[in-house]
């Protein structure tokens, strides 16, 4: 047992910190820090800065721009990125479809897609969930029927995050409706969002934003060469991909940043003649969330320091569950610090309410999502009870 990072890893951490805080445009990082939406151009600009430095997808194969890093190095990379308020590389690209194409695509597909995926020349979106297939993803009903050299896709996807920016979609489709197990008859197709027959309908969320969409497919013709991997093996690729989705989902660095902001806000708001920061109940609430977050960071470190042999650490399921709860606790705390100012959520230029207080409630409402996506917290509890406790 040893607490300190090795001198090499200390240097690595410093290198990451310096890069993220000096090379990614300040304007973009400030926008992330303010919890305001980024434009498509800002996402693209930030990702290209990372890609140019070879820091966009360290977990990819080295041949395709990855780094031969340990899980601990990747953890440090991600934490420093979050602490510096750098927008993370688009997950649909670098965590989801990229690794799947690298692992299961043919050489032609790798050459065709991977460089553009890394550089965000192609913006990918995810066609997984359907109105009747949420946590029970394998129940999906969108079909693809072979017709000559094409697949013909019909059906509907939903919760398609940032689909409005997307150039391409990776889509789970049912290719064998007669398969014995519903998981068996699913394939993974990729196609452009401007293919004839694709319609996108934005879904307004309770925070007033439009980050998710419904996507409809009506006789969309997809060339056979756009099948990734083998026909009817799509479920395996989806599991592989969602495994990657859980990596980094604890978002410790981002919540740390939120708590630092909460402390700053608590100094600015006065209640009963003194700053909220001096109110023992407020201080205790911050300290308790912070302590739980330290524990989570340490749990994450235990997991990454130990996962070198490839087997997932049993405590890894804790990361999503507690990580999402702490993100939600921190956003709720900030709404409470804002108090009545939080009502000015959609106030415009002339408002005297500080920007953080205006953003507080939309952020809190938006973050109800984090205990739902990526395998809901109830799914995580099922995994813990089943695979860890044997219940």
């Amino acid at each position: 047992m040893r607490l300190r990072l090795s001198p090499e890893l200390e240097a690595f951490r410093e290198e990451m910190r310096t890069f993220f805080t000096t090379q990614v445009p300040l304007e973009i990082r400030e926008r992330v820090a303010a919890h305001r939406e980024l434009s498509k151009e800002q996402y693209v600009e930030a990702q290209r800065v990372l890609n140019a430095a070879g820091l966009v997808a360290p977990h990819w194969p080295v041949a395709w721009g990855g780094k031969d890093w340990t899980p601990l190095q990747r953890h440090i990379w991600r934490e420093e990125m979050q602490l510096a308020c750098v927008p993370e590389p688009l997950a649909f690209n670098t965590s989801m479809i990229g690794p799947v194409i690298a692992a299961f695509g043919n050489e032609e597909q790798k050459a065709r897609f991977l460089p553009k995926t890394a550089n965000l020349d192609i913006w990918w979106c995810q066609g997984f969930s359907e109105p009747d297939a949420g946590s029970d993803l394998a129940s999906l009903r969108t079909t693809a029927v072979r017709d000559g050299d094409d697949w013909v896709v019909n059906g509907q996807k939903t919760w398609t995050t940032l689909g409005q920016h997307a150039d391409w979609i990776f889509c789970l489709v049912r290719t064998d409706p007669g398969a014995e197990k519903k998981q068996r008859g699913i394939s993974l197709l990729v196609f452009p969002m401007d293919s004839p027959g694709v319609t996108l309908r934005p879904i307004e969320l309770i925070d007033g934003g439009f980050e998710v969409n419904e996507v409809f497919f009506e006789d969309v013709r997809v060339p056979a060469e756009n099948l990734i991997g083998e026909e009817n093996r799509g479920w395996d690729y989806a599991k592989f991909l969602l495994g990657n989705e859980r990596v980094g989902i604890a978002r410790v660095g981002a919540t740390k940043r939120l708590l630092a902001q909460a402390k700053e806000h608590a100094r600015q708001i006065t209640a009963d003649g003194r700053p909220l920061a001096e109110d023992p109940r407020t201080a205790a609430r911050i300290a308790e969330i912070e302590n739980e977050l330290v524990a989570l960071e340490l749990t994450a470190l235990r997991v990454v320091a130990n996962s070198a042999d490839g087997k997932p650490h049993p405590a890894s399921s804790v990361l999503k569950l507690r990580g999402s709860e702490l993100q939600q606790a921190a956003t709720e705390l900030i709404v409470d610090l804002a108090g009545p100012l939080s009502l000015a959520s959609f106030a415009g230029e002339g408002s005297d309410v500080p920007d953080w207080a205006r953003a507080a409630t939309p952020h809190y409402l938006n973050y109800r999502k984090v205990s739902i996506y990526g395998g809901s917290n109830e799914v995580q509890r099922t995994i813990i009870a089943g695979s860890i406790l044997g219940l």
Binding site: M1, R2, L3, R4, L5, S6, L9, L72, L83, K256, R257, L259, A260, K263, A266, R267, A277, E278, P280, A283, A284, I286, A287, E288, E290, N291, E292, L293, V294, A295, L296, E297, L298, T299, L301, R302, A305, N306, A315, V318, L321, R322, E378, Q380, R381, T382, I384, A385, G386, I388, L389, G390, L391
Partner: protein
């Protein structure tokens, strides 16, 4: 950074686990031991000494093994796993820790040597009715008398206070401050009334009436040494609690798999399995923090603040797991005959010995605005 035990530490863990598994193979054995005086098994105590565990953290020149806080934590966790009632933490970590920190060469050699050999049980007489969890004394006063001192006042509850051969006593010294003193079990003017506690261990009411005492070390105000020893002991208790929580959760999971109601085993009820899953989350979060606190101590970092962090995390987890373990068992969980309730009882005792979660939280909250973010691998911890 590395959270794994090395091979020697793994061997130590296996050895301690083996010894304690033989001593407390089932909860009946423990019940029999804690029913009789002195509330623990003197033979097991000797075996712990033979294995070198009672001198684990002491310097070799003081008769010890020269091991560190990680090794102490390993022993504490194994003690918690079977609820071994032997006063390892009280004697070796707390009283021994104080003697090691401030004792003279002669005091260290004699008392730490005796503790290491299993012939001396020393405890810290510190708690006083009407105060709580302070590093200072208020109700026992020390008066200089020739070359030595006399103590007057009451300490209670003093864990294993009636059985102890040597008491390390905190007392108000002339001119203010908290001094530390050694009192022999057979000293004149010393009255000890022992009693059982809810968790099966023993505590005592200890009255000093002009009781002769010797200053531990060179005398003077020892508040800082007490604060530090209490912090190190909180960390060790955190590991004992970890072992106890681990067993409480395992026992509960096993019960859910075997107990049948409505014609099916209880693990068919998601209302129950989800609660067990949450217990696991609490346990692993507490484990991360307890391991870290020992690593901070090992690295020479801010052990007091690390101990507060661990105390808060372990306290919250102990209450959660202790209460749920009983509830998920049902009525059998509150019987003395069945094991799991005893785990909850011991976890409750640990939680109140040296500061509970809210107490630790208040200390952390007082400092929370003085820094921006916590880096558990950086200053002031590493």
């Amino acid at each position: 950074m590395n959270f794994d035990y090395d091979s020697e530490q793994n061997d130590l863990r296996e050895a301690v686990r083996g010894l304690l598994a033989r001593a407390y193979a089932d909860s009946e054995q423990r019940r029999a031991v804690v029913k009789a005086e002195p509330g623990f098994d003197e033979k097991t105590w000797s075996r712990l000494a033979e294995m070198g565990l009672l001198g684990l953290p002491f310097a070799e020149e003081d008769g010890g093994m020269g091991a560190g806080p990680i090794e102490v934590a390993i022993v504490a966790e194994e003690i918690g796993r079977v609820l071994a009632p032997e006063p390892f933490i009280e004697t070796v970590v707390l009283a021994g820790g104080l003697i090691a920190a401030v004792g003279t060469v002669e005091q260290r050699g004699e008392i730490l040597g005796g503790i290491s050999e299993g012939t001396t049980i020393a405890v810290f007489a510190h708690a006083e009715p009407g105060t709580r969890w302070s590093p200072t004394a208020a109700g026992v006063t020390a008066t200089q008398s020739g070359d030595g001192w006399t103590l007057t006042g009451v300490k209670e509850p003093v864990p294993s206070g009636a059985r102890a051969d040597v008491l390390v006593v905190s007392a108000v010294v002339d001119g203010g401050g908290t001094g530390l003193f050694l009192v022999r079990g057979d000293a004149s003017g010393l009255t000890r009334t022992g009693y059982r506690t809810h968790d099966g261990t023993r505590a005592a009411h200890v009255r000093f009436e002009s009781t002769p005492a010797v200053a531990l070390g060179t005398g003077g105000d020892r508040t800082a040494a007490v604060e530090r020893a209490l912090a190190e002991t909180r960390i060790a208790y955190g590991h004992e609690a970890l072992g106890a929580m681990d067993t409480a959760l395992r026992t509960t999971a096993e019960y859910l798999k075997t107990r049948k109601q409505f014609g099916v085993t209880l693990n068919k009820f998601q209302a129950l399995t989800f609660r067990a899953a949450d217990m696991y989350v609490s346990l692993e979060q507490a484990r991360s923090m307890a391991l870290w606190a020992s690593m901070v101590q090992d690295a020479g970092g801010d052990v007091v603040q690390a101990a507060d962090r661990a105390r808060l995390q372990v306290s919250r987890a102990s209450r959660h797991i202790g209460k749920e373990a009983i509830q998920l068992h049902g009525g059998i969980g509150v019987t003395a005959e069945y094991s799991v309730g005893h785990y909850t009882s011991r976890l409750t005792a640990i939680d109140h010995l040296l500061g509970d979660g809210d107490w630790a939280l208040a200390r952390l909250a007082a400092a929370v605005d003085s820094y921006e973010t916590v880096d558990p691998l950086g200053a002031p911890y590493a």
